[in-house]
């Protein structure tokens, strides 16, 4: 307990006045010479005891009056509050930087986002805490921009960190952030600690059953404060482009972009304009109706002539809550002219392949793929050296010079796709795998298998084909959308066993990593490894019997694909199905352009304007042991209460009045009682 005017406490010395008066009166009692002493016998003992406590009580009241008056005037402050009465505290601000915080804030008079409002509140909270306190700011959504969360006392540094903190597409992760905040507070030497969470408490982020457990793991000395920020409106329309990976198309090649609109609100929208832009230049605009809590879809078909990286943007003109999901972007890489070399000794071996390659250019204003067809004995340095992609289709063997030229070309960045067939001399192929110096294949071809023979020995009559979606590798990810074709319905009749190469450096583990490191590919950005790394290398596609169907190995700057089946109708029905052409297109694009870059996507749930209700929030706060502050003023009061304490002079004033009234009443009661 402290006092604002501690010097006035000396006023409590006035308590000595009634005490002295009492003692004086006690020694100055009146004396009466009395005759009827026999009438006073026996009653004096009982009377004396009652007299003692009555006078003592009256004395206590009279002593208490000046003491309470002095306490009241000294303005006592109760400081033994939650933070242990320590005016210095270490405070970790957890700022929700998920995209949902972009919603216009209800608490702000201006059109200001919840994120900006939260920043202002942190700024104000820092001012309220004043000097001596330590602060740290942590994002609620995983954020790679800041890693040092150590509390510091410099408010300028804090504000700099605050201004640099940005919203990220990911969703808020309160549990993880709480752990980070606890670690940050553990680094502080101050015993009074507090975690302040500023969030919109979006339902999808905070509806975690383990959250309360995580919060309760915190030491009891860490106080938790929640400052919810409510959006001005819960209407929202989300725009997405129906593509998981960036598109790679040829120069002038037409392609389709599908724009999905999701209305999360309760109000139907009509004639909502949707604009498609390429590199910020509008190329098309359509209007669409979106029902309440419904979806709509638009399709835009166009082509891009300029080779290189382009950004295709779909945008709606909506003034509803969230802005970040009013725009969807799709990176598109436009390839210029590339040469493809198809090596086959028989024309029919590449018939389906060539048809598919030709189909990929249909509609393009210019042919961006130049396909060259050669027999194996027609290869020379100029032909091989100009090829960006080489298909070896049922080629028995190659001369050493040709193979050397091909491997050199692959090393320099081209791609090689080996399609086996009955003409292939697999001993020659397999020698290439075990040649330590020149070995470049990831897998060795083994004997051919027939699905009929294989199934005859088993009870499983399931046809051999590809595994079911989802497919993680970009070449096949297109077919995760069933309307693009069903890869899992492909039936494979014959295939060659692809076996790992023994004694060879494992291209999948070492060579790939090294080569990727040289290319500086952002492998960490890949959310899930698109292919399974084995002793072969990467298995890009497997069959439903567990055997690999397509294996990818890196060699130098290039990559080598090995297929398990020929691309003809006898080995499988793949060339006969509709998925064949788009798959060949994806294969060619991927082989020519390199890995598809993952397109950063906001978490879909961030667009859903569903937040914890006041009741839910209160219940969750109770479970988590948190205090909820609806405004910065409420929080400021709490801060001042914890920092400066709680002024309790009013209670002392009430006590003083009670004592004064009590003293008058008690004295009157004694007087009246005496008159009876």
């Amino acid at each position: 307990m402290g006092f604002v005017n501690a010097i006035l406490l000396f006023g409590s010395a006035a308590a000595a006045i009634p005490l002295i008066l009492h003692l004086l009166n006690r020694s100055r009692f009146q004396k009466i010479e009395w005759g009827a002493m026999h009438l006073l016998e026996d009653i004096d003992l009982k009377n004396s005891k009652r007299l003692e406590w009555q006078s003592l009580l009256l004395l206590l009241i009279r002593v208490a009056i000046p003491v309470v008056l002095a306490l009241c005037m000294a303005r006592p402050i109760l400081t033994a509050m939650k933070l242990g009465g320590d005016s210095r505290a270490s405070v970790a601000f957890l700022l929700d930087n998920s995209f949902s915080m972009q919603a216009s804030s209800l608490a702000s008079q201006r059109e200001q986002s919840n994120f900006e409002t939260a920043k202002q509140r942190i700024d104000a909270a820092v001012d309220h805490w004043g000097r001596g306190a330590e602060f740290s700011i942590l994002p609620l959504a995983p954020y790679s921009g800041q890693s040092d969360f150590t509390p510091n006392v410099d408010s300028r540094t804090l504000r700099k960190q605050l201004s640099e903190l940005l919203m990220v597409p990911g969703r808020a992760a309160p549990g993880l952030a709480i752990q980070h905040a606890k670690s940050a507070l553990d680094a502080s030497s101050l015993t009074a600690r507090q975690i302040v969470v500023l969030s919109d408490f979006q339902l999808s982020d905070w509806r975690s059953e383990s959250l309360a457990t995580e919060m309760n793991k915190l030491q009891s000395s860490i106080a938790i404060a929640w400052m919810p920020l409510q959006p001005r409106s819960t209407d929202n329309i989300e725009v997405t482009i129906d593509a998981n990976y960036s598109e790679i198309v040829g120069q002038g090649e037409p392609f389709e972009v599908r724009v999905m609109l999701r209305n999360w609100g309760t109000r139907a929208r009509t004639n909502l304009p949707v604009t498609l832009s390429v590199d910020q230049v509008p190329v098309a605009q359509k209007q669409v109706d979106v029902a309440a809590d419904g979806t709509s879809q638009l399709s835009f078909a166009f082509s891009i002539q300029e080779p290189g990286q382009h950004i295709v943007t779909a945008r709606i003109h909506d003034t509803s809550t969230l802005i970040f999901d009013d725009v969807a972007e799709l990176p598109v890489r436009v390839l210029d002219a590339h040469r493809i070399l198809v090596v086959r000794d028989r024309l029919e071996d590449s018939r389906y392949l060539e048809t598919a390659l030709q189909a990929t250019q249909l509609g393009a204003s210019e042919s961006w793929l130049q396909v060259t067809r050669k027999r194996s004995n027609e290869l020379n340095e100029s032909i091989i050296g100009s090829a960006n992609l080489i298909f070896l289709v049922n080629v028995p063997t190659l001369s050493d010079d040709s193979w050397r030229l091909i491997t050199r070309q692959v090393e320099q960045g081209s791609s090689l796709i080996i399609i086996p067939g009955e003409q292939c001399d697999f001993r020659w192929y397999n020698q290439q795998t075990i040649n330590l110096e020149r070995g470049c294949l990831s897998a060795a071809f083994n004997q051919v298998s027939d699905s009929n023979a294989s199934n005859a020995s088993t009870l499983d009559r399931r046809p051999i084909g590809f595994t079911r979606p989802p497919y993680l590798h970009p070449i096949f990810a297109l077919f995760n959308q069933l309307n693009q074709g069903r890869l899992d319905q492909v039936v494979i009749h014959q295939w060659y066993h692809l076996e790992p190469v023994h004694g060879n450096p494992l291209p999948g583990d070492v060579a790939q990593s090294e080569s990727r490191a040289k290319r500086n590919e952002p492998s960490m950005l890949r959310p899930v490894r698109a292919s399974v790394s084995t002793a072969f290398g990467d298995i890009v596609m497997s069959m439903n019997n567990g055997e690999p169907w397509m294996v990818l190995g890196d060699f130098g700057k290039g990559r080598i694909f090995q297929l398990a089946t020929p691309l003809d109708a006898t080995a499988s029905n793949l060339p006969l199905r509709s998925v064949f052409v788009p798959w060949i297109h994806r294969l060619v694009c991927y082989s020519l352009a390199g890995p598809f870059e993952e397109r950063p996507q906001q978490h879909p749930s961030e667009s859903e304007p569903r937040f914890l209700s006041a009741v839910e929030l209160e219940r969750l706060a109770t479970d988590c042991g948190a205090e909820v502050y609806s405004s910065i003023d409420d929080y400021a009061k709490s801060v001042h209460l914890q920092r400066d304490g709680y002024e309790i002079w009013k209670w002392f004033l009430v006590a003083l009045l009670v004592l004064l009234i009590g003293e008058v009443w008690y004295q009157r009661w004694l007087s009246l009682r005496g008159r009876e």
């Binding site: 010479e33 009395w34 005759g35 009827a36 002493m37 004396s48 004694l670």
Partner: protein
């Protein structure tokens, strides 16, 4: 008379004169108030005639002798002039209540009980002497402090008054033993008037008065109390110091004990009254703020009624 006054101090002489005047005034008022001669015949044996004086009861006029002599004579009986009245005055410490303290302590209002008792005794002595009755006086506290045998001589009143003037309070009260002692001194029947506050054990006091009554005395207890003793008007912390026993005191909250005290007083008075009534002892309670003549008139009226 001059010898008697000479034995008194100047203050006592002043008191004597005042007492004499008070007694005279009281008796004059009394006789004029009741319109009857205060002469009370207490005997029936004829002794002699005496000349009529105004105020004599006409019933005592010997009309036969008036017819013979044409003069008014009063028939006097054997003991009429020898009615023996004993005035027993309590001068114990408790009777000092109401007297201004010499130590400067807070003193109650009204006159003291002892002073009142002295005045009352003087009035009675005056009354009886005027009736040619023999008046004796005994002063006592825990023992007999002074005794004046009954005499009917006119100047005996001066002695009685002088003795009253010289009465001083002090000492404890032991009414019963003193009355027992006096009972042995009173050999002829008469009237015994006890002037006291009666602050003794009621049963022993009544027993002693009964002893006097048993010797065919008419016993009258005039209980003199101070108004303070009936109302207990004190407030706050009060130290009650005994007027009888030196050093005995009680520090009490007067307000708190008031009710208890009054209950005890009532019980004491009731016990005393019951005892007196049971033994045909006349008892009159008076307070010091009542005029002695009024109390005396009440006493006489009660006697007339009986």
């Amino acid at each position: 008379m001059s010898m008697l006054l000479g034995s008194l101090t100047a203050e006592e002489r002043e008191k004597f004169v005042r007492l004499q005047w008070i007694a005279n005034q009281a008796m004059e008022g009394l006789t004029s108030g009741i319109h009857r001669s205060p002469h009370l015949g207490f005997s029936i044996e004829f002794k002699e005639h005496r000349a009529y004086v105004p105020g004599d009861d006409l019933r005592s006029v010997d009309w036969k002798l008036f017819g013979k002599t044409d003069r008014l004579y009063i028939r006097q009986f054997e003991d009429e002039t020898n009615l023996r009245v004993h005035l027993l005055l309590d001068q114990s410490g408790s009777m000092r209540y109401g007297v201004k303290s010499t130590r400067g302590e807070k003193t109650p209002s009204s006159s003291g009980k002892h002073e009142y008792a002295v005045q009352f005794a003087a009035c009675l002595a005056y009354l009886f002497v005027r009736q040619h009755d023999a008046v004796g006086l005994a002063l006592f506290d825990q023992q007999l402090r002074g005794y004046l045998p009954p005499r009917s001589r006119p100047n005996h009143l001066q002695h009685v008054l002088a003795m009253l003037v010289q009465s001083h309070c002090g000492g404890e009260t032991d009414l019963s033993s003193v009355l027992d002692e006096l009972a042995s001194k009173i050999r002829r029947r008469g009237v015994v008037i006890v002037l006291s506050d009666g602050f003794d054990k009621p049963e022993s006091l009544v027993r002693s008065l009964t002893n006097l009554r048993a010797k065919h005395n008419e016993v009258v207890l005039i209980q003199i109390l101070h108004p303070d003793e009936l109302t207990f008007p004190f407030r706050g912390r009060t130290q009650f110091e005994s007027l009888e026993i030196a050093g005995e005191s009680r520090l009490l909250d007067a307000v708190a004990i008031r009710a208890s005290y009054l209950r005890r007083l009532e019980a004491f008075q009731q016990q005393l009254a019951d005892g007196c009534q049971r033994n045909r002892i006349r008892r009159i309670t008076c307070t010091t703020d009542q005029p002695p003549s009024a109390v005396l008139a009440t006493l006489l009226e009660q006697r007339e009624a009986h």
